[in-house]
């Protein structure tokens, strides 16, 4: 049994809507073993993205403890959380979120600007990441010159370029057709099996969830 890379205990997350508190996550406990590929499913508003954000260090729980990659996220400052994300988290968004003014390789290089690597080393690493996702020949293309599937592959290259501990993917195939979605899922599977990356993927698509080793279902702020 692999040790847990994500350990959440009694997590509650409450948002204020006007004067009314909305409980999105309600005393949730979760452990994710290192090297696993897990899918998180549930209806809209069930708290999937909120849970993903907490694990990724984008948000803090209202209550409970959250230890990810050995770091206690609850006690960290904003600056420490930013460093944590830079070191341990690779993000894949549904809408790709590439910077339109940068080429594919520059987008992939972006997280490396936060490291002490030289310009050449950064470029080499970004090229390697693009090679892994099969887009080395498109590295000088701007996002507008790429298809949706290619954009998402560039986003995946950006997510893995700093060799993160965990990859978090929020509906990574949500904007893609079946063929492109399969390519992305194959790539995520490969990253998990070949490169031993821990992947947590939020999805609505049962076909996508089937590709993950474990599927967890969230409803009304609690895991089923």
């Amino acid at each position: 049994m692999e040790p847990s890379i994500v350990e959440l205990k009694g997590i509650t997350k409450t948002f204020q809507r006007g004067k009314e508190p909305i409980v999105v996550l309600d005393g949730l406990t979760l452990e994710i073993p290192t090297g696993s590929f897990e899918a998180l499913m549930g209806p809209s508003g069930s708290g999937k993205s909120t849970l993903l954000n907490l694990i990724a260090g984008l948000d803090r729980p209202t209550q409970g403890s959250a230890v990810v990659a050995g770091a206690n996220l609850v006690s960290m400052s904003d600056g420490e959380l930013a460093k944590f994300r830079a070191r341990h988290i690779g993000f894949i968004f549904q809408a790709y979120n590439l910077l339109p003014v940068l080429t594919a390789i520059e987008n992939v290089e972006l997280p490396l600007l936060l490291t002490n690597l030289s310009k050449t080393e950064r470029r080499e690493r970004a090229q390697t990441a693009l090679r892994v996702v099969g887009l080395e020949e498109r590295m000088k293309h701007y996002p507008r010159q790429l298809s949706g599937g290619q954009e998402q592959r560039v986003a995946i290259a950006r997510a893995i370029v700093n060799d993160p501990t965990i990859i978090v993917a929020d509906e990574p195939t949500g904007d893609l057709d079946r063929k492109a979605a399969d390519d992305i899922l194959n790539l995520l599977e490969r990253l998990n099996k070949e490169f031993k990356k821990t992947i947590l993927m939020v999805t609505h698509d049962p076909h996508a969830a089937e590709r993950a080793g474990v599927t967890r279902k969230l409803d009304k702020g609690q895991l089923q």
Binding site: A82, R87, L99
Partner: protein, 388 residues
């Protein structure tokens, strides 16, 4: 690649908006440079005043005249090397009364000893000395009026009414660029002899050259003491103070120009602030992405401030580049030729260039502070949800 490069590339996203913003801000810089140059050109005469010259006028105001014989007593004051006198004549070109140039009735025997920055050939000087109806004019004025040595010219008097005919005996140039080359000098005696008895033998002011600039204050005090007990008392001051006194008459206008230049800069800051705020609003989601992948709030702020600095720099460079042909070569030359009495040397000085560029960048930075602060304080999760 670095954050500065990304900031620069962001400017190309909405090319039309960027171009219009830079043009708007550069026009503001151009207007600022023009007004500052007007102010500095106006004060050039004061700045370039001779240190070894003092001026004596009526104690109340330089528009009130004083007896001509005062100059004889001033010449006897220890430290005074030479003195000359003159009157403001206020003559106009009858064909173009709106055309402004200084007309001075002067003592031709001493004027060039005291005002040695004026250059006139010895032959023309001698010719003028011998011709009571003769006049010497600056080369810029000669060009404006289309006059040459030997021509005749009539001035229409305003303070001293009537038509006054002159022979153009000489055309002067100057040793320094700050000297007004649009003045019309003629014999004081020609004017005096034509006046009624009640107005005769009165002079406007006396300019003296002294042997030691360090003793200017003592010599001035000594001159004024001579006339303390007389009906007409005097006020003697450095030439610079005298020139500043002339400028004092238009101080409200100068202050107004100062205020206008500040207003122009504020407008420029608002133009830049609006563009930066629009860009930040449109790119909120991207800032969320940057934050998500590990950039700090400070990095995001720096990113926005860097973009603003670029806009400011480009606006400043374009504004100053436009200033050279428009202000210095176009307007400046026209003013020197047509309003040389007010603007003998209308050029943009180095300080104005530095100030223009510095303010363009500085104000762009100030304009970006609020958008940068807002963007850096956004919650990452909120920013990622934002749709442009």
């Amino acid at each position: 690649m670095n954050l500065v490069l990304i900031a620069a590339r962001n400017l190309l996203r909405n090319k039309m908006r960027t171009v219009l913003t830079i043009l708007g801000a550069s026009v503001a810089i151009l207007a600022f440079v023009m007004l500052r140059t007007v102010l500095s050109a106006w004060s050039t005469a004061a700045d370039y005043s001779a240190k070894d010259r003092i001026a004596t006028r009526h104690k109340v105001s330089f528009v009130i005249s004083m007896p001509k014989n005062y100059i004889d007593q001033i010449r006897l004051v220890p430290g005074v090397k030479q003195a000359t006198y003159m009157n403001w004549f206020g003559g106009k070109n009858p064909n173009k009364p709106e055309q402004f140039f200084a007309t001075l009735a002067v003592d031709p025997t001493t004027i060039f000893d005291v005002m040695d920055e004026i250059v006139l050939t010895p032959a023309d000087r001698q010719h003028w000395l011998e011709d009571k109806k003769g006049a010497v004019i600056g080369d810029v004025l000669a060009k404006t009026l289309g006059l040459k040595v030997g021509d005749k010219f009539t001035l229409q008097g305003s303070i001293y009414p009537g038509d006054w005919e002159f022979n153009i005996d000489g055309i002067y140039s100057a040793k320094r660029k700050s000297v007004d080359r649009s003045t019309f000098f003629f014999h004081w005696s020609y004017m005096n002899d034509s006046l009624p008895e009640s107005r005769k033998d009165q002079i406007g002011w006396i300019t003296s050259r002294i042997d030691d600039p360090g003793k200017g204050a003592d010599i001035s005090a000594a001159i004024d003491r001579i006339f303390d007990e007389k009906d007409v008392q005097t006020a003697t001051m450095s030439e610079r103070a005298m020139n500043l006194g002339f400028m004092g008459m238009i101080s409200s206008l100068l202050k107004a120009l100062d205020v206008i230049s500040i207003i122009i800069l504020l407008i420029m800051m608002m133009i830049l602030g609006n563009t930066i705020a629009m860009g930040v609003r449109e790119r909120t989601r991207e800032y969320g992405v940057l934050r998500a992948i590990g950039f700090s709030p400070r990095d995001v702020g720096t990113f926005i401030v860097g973009e603003a600095a670029f806009i400011g720099l480009l606006s400043g460079v374009v504004g100053l580049a436009l200033s050279v042909p428009i202000v210095e070569l176009g307007l400046g030359r026209w003013l020197e030729e047509n309003m040389g009495a007010w603007f003998p040397y209308f050029r943009i000085d180095a300080q104005t260039y530095v100030m223009g560029l510095g303010l363009a960048i500085g104000l762009a930075l100030v304009a970006s502070v609020i958008p940068a602060r807002r963007a850096s304080r956004l919650l990452v999760t909120d920013a990622l949800r934002r749709v442009a």
